[in-house]
């Protein structure tokens, strides 16, 4: 098997698995229980959280552990709810779903509420877990340039005194583009100062989904200037279903589940101890191999680009080296996926395919690709499972599959 879809999922590393194991069996206690062995588990959990937090220059208490990145993204947007609560009153009431006249149950089930507030900006190339939640708050998309980077002019023009949250991923999950977050946070800082000057209380926060970033980037929340940041264990050789939201002290969020009051009361539910232990181990490993991996993937990318034939490279600049996004114009990339699958090579596409429920990639569209370019796009994301030998082999097989598909098309 040659697995070239590490942006979708990564296998749990041996070290991570070993670290997690005891917490499924011997150290299974509920961290909230009174006796000493449970307290030890609680301490291990806190230490693990500290390890994760430390890796991004934060403290354990700044992290809310969640059931993955999507949940962390959803949690980040509850900052909006806080603002609405603070400002609800006779003159500005809590927005309610439109059309509050009595409607039938069936009609109510069909309608999704639309909010009247207009205070969220998000990058148009964000992951669906941001786009969907942003749309819930009538968010507005910020444009990207053809190179995938945020269009700062567009961003500036869209920020108003109403703007509460800007969400922009650090690394794009489809094309690997690294956004200039520090530049954006400097802008946000200026807006904050300007608002204070003018006596406007509305806060403005910068949130960043960094799910794809920890493998190859050295992240520091203070240096990046973000107020919230989403992390994801599943993309860095940790377990699935574990994520975290870094939250700076200035941001007040609302609980996404209530109950026993775990995670600073923001996400009640017994702690996923093995998951967080594994997450911490994965973070350590990622840090440790950061420099080696950068060189390795740069080399792999070079091999692919020189040995593959008749492609167009889509992510030419500003992207992580483990993302190689190609386009085979005139070819249906979904067919390539099924042909490659028969040779045990697993890749992804931005084409409108069954896996994307028939939707073409909004990211490739945003950077200006034509429909036929999108239909022919292949996303290869490199990772720990790959060897240099595999990369040569993959290039050879992809070439042969592409030419056989071209042959089929010619012969009708």
């Amino acid at each position: 098997m040659i697995y070239l879809d590490h942006a979708a999922a990564t296998p749990v590393s041996q070290k991570v698995l070993q670290a997690m194991k005891p917490y499924f069996t011997d150290d299974f206690f509920n961290p909230s229980a009174a006796y000493l062995p449970a307290k030890k588990v609680a301490a291990d959990y806190e230490t693990a959280k500290g390890t994760i937090a430390h890796a991004i220059g934060a403290k354990a208490n700044d992290l809310v552990i969640t059931g993955g990145a999507t949940e962390a993204n959803n949690l980040a947007f509850t900052a909006l709810e806080t603002e609405l609560k603070l400002h609800s009153g006779p003159h500005r009431s809590l927005p309610s779903p439109r059309g509050s006249r009595a409607i039938s149950r069936a009609a109510a089930l069909r309608n999704t509420p639309s909010w009247s507030v207009n205070s969220v900006l998000y990058l148009e190339t964000e992951h669906d877990s941001i786009r969907a939640v942003a749309q819930k708050y009538s968010g507005i998309a910020i444009k990207v340039l053809p190179n995938g980077l945020v269009d700062l002019k567009d961003l500036k023009s869209k920020i108003t005194d109403e703007t509460i949250l800007i969400s922009m991923s650090l690394v794009n999950n489809e094309i690997g583009t690294i956004q200039p977050l520090a530049e954006v946070s400097a802008l946000v800082k200026n807006i904050r100062i300007d608002r204070l000057k003018r006596g406007i209380e509305t806060p403005i926060y910068l949130h960043s989904d960094a799910s794809q970033a920890l493998n190859l980037l050295d992240i520091n929340v203070a240096r990046l200037g973000v107020d919230m940041m989403t992390l994801n264990a599943a993309k860095i050789y940790g377990p699935k279903g574990v994520g975290a939201l870094y939250v700076s002290h200035d941001v007040k969020l609302q609980p996404i589940s209530v109950g026993g009051g775990q995670e600073q009361g923001l996400r009640s539910g017994t702690e996923n101890v093995p998951g967080v232990i594994g997450f911490a181990e994965a973070v350590c490993e990622a840090k440790e191999h950061l420099n080696g991996n950068r060189k390795k993937y740069a080399n792999f990318k070079k091999i692919l680009l020189s040995e593959l034939e008749n492609y167009e490279l889509i992510n030419k600049k500003h992207s992580l080296d483990n993302f190689v996004v190609l386009c085979y114009n005139g070819i249906d990339a979904e067919r390539l996926i099924y042909l490659l699958e028969e040779q045990n090579i697993y890749v992804a596409t931005g084409a409108a395919c069954a896996a994307s429920k028939g939707k073409k990639s909004h990211v490739l569209k945003a950077i200006g690709l034509s429909d036929s370019q999108i239909a022919g796009s292949l996303r290869l994301t490199l990772g720990e499972t790959n060897s240099e030998e595999q990369i040569h082999e993959a290039a050879r097989i992809i070439n042969s599959v592409v030419s056989s598909e071209k042959e089929r098309l010619r012969n009708g």
Binding site: R105, A106, L339, E342, A354
Partner: protein, 409 residues
């Protein structure tokens, strides 16, 4: 690919692979591929027998309702994976709007009227053998094909060899024009043969779980689906004989005459002290009352006659040799035999003998065939049968040949 299946047996005789290589234009066939094993094997057989095959996934419904997952994307992936493996072209044709208008709305309307419609029959009539057929023809197709278990014998729709899988019940209303250009490649095979052939040829979906019932309702059930679309009100369940209120229902449309499960009656669900179950015998939609009875002999449960509406008689079938005599008697003027798929003429001026048009009929998919007389409007049975729900179809056969049918009034 496996060529051991005899060409002739499949009714695909005219073009052997060898022949097609010589000929300049192979016949072009668009095959509806659902992602299931039946349509996959159909496409495979057509390819193998020298046709130029284009696989088409008909996208009819792609909405996930809250709590209900529609597996269309998985089905599409399965269909395309097979098409790629076979090396044939593959397209997705979007019929979602038409499907909603022609099938879903029809279904909802029928339920609102208190009937129990069959959306699969409507889907074949309006989508697969109409829109799909027409679009394929526009694209220059010689044929369309599907993975239905059915046969075409001398131009007539006929039951499949695998009596257990025969799907002509769902096909009786498809147009004669479409049937002339239709191939059912697996109609001569049994389901186990189809699966084996799929496995032998490495089709990944050889043992895929069969989809049951209406695709968009999935496994959650019609009731939850209807609740999303139809405003329903709770109401009383009364005993028909005494008018006594025995319990309450969630909405009369959910109940079918003859039903005995799922009744919320006081005491043991659906039973009385004597342990006898209650049956639904009547629905009053205006008053929103469901009537039940424990009298098994209630006239609403049993009947010797069924009135059919929207009768659709297959012109291709009534010209059949066996049937011609009967038909001529009905019409008196055989040359003008009411052609192709029109409603049967009222049997005016017809003598007693001509009313006795003997058919075998199927009142449910896979239900046993029952002998009956048909007079163009009414089915008359020799002994009492349990009344099928209004809105379901009665499909008529003469031997293996499907004569058409009608919707139970």
């Amino acid at each position: 690919m496996d060529s051991s299946i005899e060409t002739v047996r499949l009714g695909l005789a005219p073009w052997s692979a060898a022949e097609s290589e010589r000929s300049i234009s192979r016949p072009l066939v668009f095959v509806g591929m659902s992602g299931g094993v039946d349509s996959s094997v159909s496409a495979m057989l057509l390819k193998e027998h020298g046709y130029k095959v284009v696989g088409v996934y008909m996208k009819n419904w792609s909405r996930d309702l809250p709590g209900m997952k529609c597996p269309w994307a998985e089905d599409l992936a399965d269909a395309k994976r097979v098409a790629v493996k076979l090396g044939i072209d593959f397209e997705v044709w979007d019929f979602e709007e038409a499907y909603h208008e022609k099938v879903v709305e029809y279904m909802l309307d029928e339920f609102k009227k208190g009937n129990t419609p069959n959306p699969d029959i409507m889907c074949n009539q309006e989508i697969k053998f109409k829109l799909f057929y027409e679009k394929a023809m526009e694209r220059g197709a010689d044929f369309i094909a599907t993975g239905h278990y059915a046969r075409i014998i001398d131009g007539k729709l006929a039951r499949a060899v695998d009596e257990n899988k025969d799907q002509t019940y769902f096909l009786y209303r498809i147009s004669e024009d479409a049937l002339k250009h239709t191939l059912f490649p697996i109609g001569e095979m049994t389901k186990p043969e189809v699966k084996k052939l799929a496995e032998k040829n490495g089709l990944h979906n050889a043992y895929k779980k069969e989809s049951m019932g209406v695709c968009f309702v999935g496994e959650v059930g019609m009731k939850d689906f209807l609740k999303e679309y139809i405003d329903i009100k709770p109401g009383e369940i009364r005993e028909i004989e005494s008018e006594k209120v025995l319990g309450y229902h969630e909405g009369a449309i959910f109940y079918t005459i003859g039903q005995r499960h799922g009744l919320y009656l006081s005491g043991v669900a659906g039973e009385t002290n004597d342990g006898m179950p209650y049956y639904v015998v009547k629905k009053d939609l205006d008053k929103n009352i469901v009537y039940v009875s424990k009298n098994l002999n209630n006239e609403n449960i049993w009947t010797k006659e069924l009135v059919l509406k929207d009768v659709f008689i297959r012109g291709d079938a009534v010209h059949s040799r066996h049937f011609a005599t009967n038909w001529e008697r009905v019409n008196e003027e055989p040359r003008n035999a009411r052609p192709l798929g029109r409603e049967l003429p009222e049997a005016n001026g017809c003598d007693e003998a001509c009313r006795e048009w003997t058919v075998s009929t199927r009142l449910r998919h896979r239900a046993p065939l029952i002998q009956a007389k048909f007079d163009g409007k009414k089915l008359i049975f020799e002994s009492e049968i349990k009344r099928p729900a209004s809105g379901q179809s009665a499909v008529l056969y003469d031997g293996e040949v499907c004569l058409g049918g009608g919707i139970i009034a």
